[in-house]
Amino acid sequence: MKNKFNTLLFVLSLIGFFIALYLSRQYLAHQPVICLTGGCELTRLSPYSKIAGIYVPVYGLIGYSLILILSFLRTLKDRWERTLLVPILIIAGGGLLFSLYNNFVDWFLIKTFCQYCFACLIIMVGLVAVAKIELGRRPKI
């Protein structure tokens, strides 16, 4: 394996993708989500479950899909290894802010703890950290 950091980006975004996929399915079907903390249903049923008329997990699905595709594309051409890192970092950074907002809403407005929202925050922190490290390792061309 040439680039372990890129594999890490891919695996993290894959985990996030499947979490977002599961949640999107449950939200769109209006069905309860399996939840170890018990707070996920409060989040799903709250008025904060949508932003601009779109369910929150759908935004996650889009973000993780983009990072997943970009991290895969990086393996195809050498010159894409650095150029595609910048959009990955931008998307992950945006995702991190979005996750922070969602967890803030959970903790302070809905007053609950949603395991999926917290997992997404951790994944986004991981993605930003790995993308930043990876960017530092690759000199500008």
Partner: protein
């Protein structure tokens, strides 16, 4: 294609395969729901000859169940003469006092105070402990000796276990799960429930 690309594709394919196995192996989506399984065994209140039966599978330590309880109570009060409400237990394993709370409520039901006990459990759901059950029984002026005997009895335990078995048989993924006339109700928000009950009652007129 580089070796890295192949590895990433292999990781993605393996993940999809594992998840597909888990999801399709455990799914019963589309299966018709057996109304008898939904509505048997529970604690019921409301009309004796109802137009609509609302069944809830809930967990006394589930925050969403606690949040929706005032709404459920207002629905029961509003449509009491047309509606029968059945409460069934789905204590989730991650909630340490949920099963005991369900058994305690059943024990209170043996003295005709199930609904009062249920209300207290939801009111105190964030502070439930081993000491809560007897304290609530005292607050409700229950016969403590009988309450403790029932609380520790196999029969009450089995009642809750029967509800839990039915919830699993119905493949419920979480709480609260509602059924109207045996049909699952999929909620997009907490307030959806009253609209769905009203719809069901209106459709019978």
């Amino acid at each position: 294609m580089s070796s890295d690309a192949k590895i990433l594709l292999a990781i993605a394919a393996a993940t999809v395969a594992v998840l597909a196995f888990i999801v399709f192996g455990s799914q019963s989506a589309g299966k018709p729901v057996d109304r008898a399984v939904v509505e048997r065994n529970g604690q019921a209140t409301g009309s004796a000859s109802p137009k609509v039966t609302l069944t809830e599978f809930a967990d006394f330590q589930c925050p969403a169940c606690g949040q929706i309880e005032p709404l459920v109570n207002s629905i029961i009060a509003q449509y009491g003469d047309k509606l029968k409400f059945i409460y069934r237990n789905f204590p989730l394993s991650q909630h340490p006092y949920a099963f005991k709370a369900a058994v305690a409520a059943q024990a209170a039901g043996e003295q005709g105070k199930f609904w009062e006990y249920r209300q207290k459990l939801f009111d105190e759901q964030e502070s439930l402990s081993d000491g809560s059950f007897e304290q609530i029984a005292k607050d409700l002026n229950l016969n403590l000796e009988k309450f403790n005997k029932d609380f520790n009895s196999q029969a009450m335990n089995q009642k809750v276990q029967a509800d839990l078995n039915d919830a699993q048989k119905l493949n419920l993924s979480g709480t609260p799960s509602f059924f109207i006339n045996g049909e699952p109700v999929n909620l997009a928000s907490l307030n959806d429930l009253s609209a769905r009950v009203k719809e069901a009652i209106d459709s019978t007129q």
